[in-house]
């Protein structure tokens, strides 16, 4: 990473596309995604690592993008909600969320989907307890979580 004035060059891959970006060294990945790349599917609920709305996958691992700085992700592969579905076809996690009513206002949904996808990619047979463990950092105020657990279990069956 090299400095240009108060900016730095950041090379990352976002949803499979290589990007070379000029960013502020203190810009968060959340800001880079939403403001520089206009990928507004990644949401913000607190910008302090408390709510999980901004979860993206960095090299397959769910991370709070509001707490990630450019220096931490040089050369990484970032997956946002815009990169989850396959063309017009929903990913099994997205399809299960739709079928099980696991979203209402939808604001926590991108983060929920990505945390769920990371869990099921590693363990499609995750139990309800394992699902709770994996998603406990994602807050939702609408659903009461019940339908989300049902959806992730169903998605796991579809992915297994």
């Amino acid at each position: 990473m090299s400095d240009i004035g108060s900016r730095e060059i950041l090379k990352i891959s976002v949803n499979g596309q290589n990007k070379e970006l000029l960013v502020k060294p203190y810009a968060t990945l959340l800001e880079i995604l939403r403001e520089d790349l206009r990928l507004t599917g990644t949401k913000h609920g607190c910008e302090a690592g408390e709510c999980g709305a901004c979860v993206v996958l960095i090299d397959g691992t769910p991370q709070l993008s509001c707490l990630v700085l450019p220096g931490q992700i040089e050369g990484s592969e970032v997956t946002t909600i815009e990169g989850v579905s396959d063309g017009g076809k929903l990913h099994p996690v997205q399809q299960a969320f739709m079928d099980h009513g696991a979203l209402q206002c939808g604001y926590c949904t991108p983060g929920m989907v990505l945390s769920s996808k990371a869990l099921l990619d590693a363990n499609p047979r995750a139990s309800a307890e394992e699902i709770k463990e994996a998603l406990a950092g994602n807050l939702c105020r609408c659903t009461g979580y019940v339908s989300i657990i049902e959806a992730v279990e169903a998605a796991g069956r579809a992915m297994a």
Binding site: T80, G106, R141
Partner: protein
């Protein structure tokens, strides 16, 4: 989930099915543009400077240094927006930016528009405000004392009293005199906030005398009216668009400072201006659950029939009026919709304090008295040796009756919801053992407020359906805040037009494009906008059917509608045929609640609804007698939905209501110290995660309301209500102590256990209710039933 239907043979194609939301796909792929995702070319960014003092006179605001900062385009202060506003006609007490005095930590005094947020923030820091601090009023008791310097507001009163009232229905003294048992209790319900996942955001443009505001609002209609007032503009020059919404729960139902500020800054700069609140600011904007102190006295006969009830409430309103006059009355209005109370006295007061303003949160003014009333019923049952469920049953309201405070009860599944949760949970078969308990409670809520917030004779909801190029567009002012209102409207239109909900294009919550709807509050959308959509859809169906019948040379009643066909023609062919004959194809529907649903006395505007939902809950939990910790095991919830328009969406509303009730019963509180919010962050303000949420078993009862669309009633607010008292009741069942205050936290449980161990009453909660000079009681004459059936 189980649904108990009264008419399983009803011939409906899409109504009642468990179908995905019509807006699910966009939300799942990250394409739905919420308010902060809207980015217009050339946008400037706005930040508000907020008061750091809870109560102070503003002596001067110097913006010169801020204006000189490179990248700052405009700075405005209160004098630039001098006209006051407020959601209710009687509470026009807010300046967009205060310039005379500030009344809570977070009250805005100036706004900046700059090329980016960083610059706007730097400019806010450069604004110099000179304050003269005033006494901080922190509590209900404090607010009831004469102010040491000056009241928080220069209207209402005396002192810091905002609203006060006293009503009596029936002969209360006589009822108490005839009672064989009388009990008094005092309760406190701590305030809490909505905590929507989305932070409020608004963007405004002002182009050629036309003001447009995109905002995360639940009530674009009321915001539109407030803008017209504040900027003294014709209604026709304003357009308010409710952006796809990241959660409301009542917290985005007022017109807000940041909305006014971006509009004014757009006018001043000629550029789009956007303001997105930080999470900390969302805690200050608040308008959440009022802290309420309650005192209740009830007299019952030997067989447990309520003969008289006297209910007193005192609400901590925070710094502004907001929905307060209604909130105060709601703490006394719906006690009568579950229990037959033949004589009822209500005295209520709302006071101003130097805290973030309270307003409507899910259940608006009714969760607090419902918590008190249900525990009070438990205590009466215990005292007179009756089973708590049986005591309630002996007092349940009957369908198609009139309450003592003149509310019309129609369809009523209170017996059915009780049976379902009591049987499924095996409540009466539970084994008594220390540390394990079950609690039962019941409740009722409105399917929309019977009267609008301001007096007018417009319909409460209007819909237009347009058929064009073979497709259907439905226009309605209702706002989908996540509850599924777009899905309800699409499902109603699809049912009538023989289509699928995703075939219907919905344009909603846009005051420039859609006809009047009052917004998403008071659980009104399914009932009111649903009825308007039903009327419009039936009219459109008739237009299409008659065109097809004419072509087929048959009677319209022989033209079958369904599966994408109208008679022998596809929907598209039928639509084109009708359009060839009639030109533009539109159909209209509107809904106004019937007049006779409530009384005519002063304050009768709060409580009436065209239909009431009923909910019952049983909570099963373990409570540790050594640590006071509570582990929820399971919740059984039954809800009288009238009829589900979309069963999956109703289930979601019910489970979400249970969750929100549990979370505020057990951990949420908006707490202050010396006027400073103690935890304005999501880390410090605790709410339930996946870990705390227990298993929920949901039962829906379909009573098929005669006036609801296809018989539907509300689902968004009612199911929250019984959960809160059921938790506290279950803790009592487990440990034998009462915690008469929510949230019920381990420290409160331990204090009640300590008191019991020391031989005192095993209770934690407020010890007394303050002496309040309520006004003389207004005795309301009995309901005049001459013009209605009951």
């Amino acid at each position: 989930m189980t649904t108990v239907a009264n008419d399983p043979n009803a011939d409906l194609r899409v109504i009642g099915k468990s179908l995905p939301r019509v807006d699910a796909a966009g939300k799942l792929i990250g394409l739905t543009a919420y308010a902060d995702d809207i980015e217009l070319p050339g946008t400037l960014y706005c930040k508000l400077l907020r008061s750091h003092l809870p109560h102070a006179r503003v002596l001067s605001v110097d913006t010169s240094a801020a204006s000189a900062i490179k990248g700052v385009i405009a700075v405005i202060t209160g004098e630039d927006i001098p006209i006051k506003y407020g959601i209710m006609p009687t509470s026009q007490d807010e300046h967009a930016l205060e310039y005379e005095k500030v009344r809570f930590v977070g009250d805005p005094v100036a706004a900046v528009a700059a090329v980016d947020e960083e610059t706007a923030l730097a400019a806010c820091r450069a604004i110099v405000v000179e304050y003269e601090p005033l006494e901080t009023v922190e509590s209900i008791e404090h607010a009831l004392l004469p102010p040491s310097d000056e009241p928080i507001h220069d209207y209402a009163g005396p002192g810091n009293v905002h609203r006060i009232g006293a009503l009596e229905f029936g002969e209360v003294d006589e009822g108490f005199a005839n009672s064989s048992f009388i009990r008094e209790d005092v309760f406190f319900y701590e305030g809490n906030t909505h905590l929507p996942m989305e932070q409020h955001s608004a963007t405004a443009t002002f182009v050629g005398d036309q003001l447009t505001l995109w905002s995360s609002t639940q009530d674009p209609h009321y915001v539109h009216r407030a803008l017209a007032r504040v900027f003294d503009m014709p209604m026709g020059h304003i357009r308010v668009v409710a952006a796809p919404h990241g959660g409301g729960f009542g917290g985005k139902a007022d017109p807000f400072s940041h909305e006014m500020a971006v509009c004014k800054l757009a006018m001043v700069t000629g550029r789009p201006v956007k303001c997105t609140l930080t999470r900390e600011e969302v805690f200050y904007v608040h308008r959440g659950r009022h802290p309420v102190l309650m005192w209740v006295r009830t007299g019952v006969s030997q067989d447990g029939k309520i003969l008289a009830m006297h209910f007193r409430t005192a609400l901590d309103g925070g710094a502004y009026g907001s929905y307060g006059p209604a909130s105060m009355l709601y703490t006394g209005a719906l006690q009568t919709t579950t229990y037959n109370i033949p004589a009822y006295r209500f005295e209520g007061v709302r006071v101003f304090t130097n805290k973030a303003p309270c307003g409507p949160k899910r259940g608006h003014g009714t969760p607090q008295p419902r918590f008190a009333l249900e525990l009070h019923m438990d205590k009466i049952a215990e005292a007179i040796g009756l089973d708590p469920v049986e005591l309630r049953r002996r007092n349940y309201v009957k369908p198609y009756t009139r309450t003592i405070n003149h509310l019309r009860i129609t369809s009523c599944g209170i017996e059915e919801v009780t049976d379902l949760v009591v049987e499924a949970s095996r409540y009466h078969e539970r084994k008594k053992r220390l540390g394990h308990g079950m609690g039962f409670a019941v409740s009722s809520y409105m399917s929309g407020a019977g009267l609008p917030i301001y007096w007018n004779k417009l319909p409460h909801s209007e819909c237009i359906i347009q058929v064009n190029r073979g497709g259907v567009t439905l226009y309605c002012g209702a706002t989908d805040i996540g509850q599924g209102s777009d899905t309800v409207l699409a499902t109603v239109a699809a049912e009538e037009l023989g289509l699928w909900p995703t075939d219907i294009r919905i344009v909603s919550g846009d005051t420039g494009l859609t006809p009047v709807d009052l917004g998403s509050y008071s659980s009104r959308v399914t009932f009111m906008a649903g009825n308007a959509a039903l009327q419009a859809a039936r009219e459109m169906r008739e237009i299409l059917v008659s065109a097809v019948a004419e072509k087929m040379e048959c009677s319209p009643k022989d033209v079958m509608v369904g599966d994408g066909k109208i008679g022998e023609l596809s929907f598209e062919e039928a639509a084109n045929l009708a359009q060839e004959r009639h030109g533009v194809l539109t159909a209209r529907g509107s809904y106004t609640p019937p007049r006779e649903i409530g009384g005519k006395y002063k304050a009768a505007g709060v409580g009436p609804s065209p239909a009431y939902s009923y909910s019952a809950a049983v909570v099963d939990l373990d409570a540790d007698p050594y640590s006071g910790e509570i582990q929820l095991n399971k919740v059984w919830i039954a809800h009288d939905i009238g009829r589900s328009i979309n069963e999956l969406a109703v289930k979601g509303q019910v489970e979400g209501g249970v969750y929100m009730g549990l979370s505020e019963a057990m951990m949420e509180g908006q707490l202050y110290r010396h006027g400073l919010h103690k935890q304005p962050s999501m880390l410090d303000y605790k709410s339930f995660t996946f870990f705390e949420m227990p298993e929920v078993e949901t039962f829906l009862v379909e009573t098929v309301d005669l006036e609801g669309p296809y018989g539907a009633k509300e689902a968004g607010q009612g199911p929250l209500l019984p959960v809160i008292p059921a938790v506290v009741s279950a803790v009592h069942d487990a440990l034998g102590v009462w915690v008469d205050e929510v949230p019920i936290t381990p420290d409160k449980v331990m204090r009640a256990l300590d008191a019991k161990a020391k031989g005192r009453e095993g209770r934690y909660g407020p010890k007394s209710f303050p002496q309040i000079s309520y006004p003389p009681i207004v005795k309301v004459p009995p309901f005049d039933a001459s013009s209605t059936a009951f």
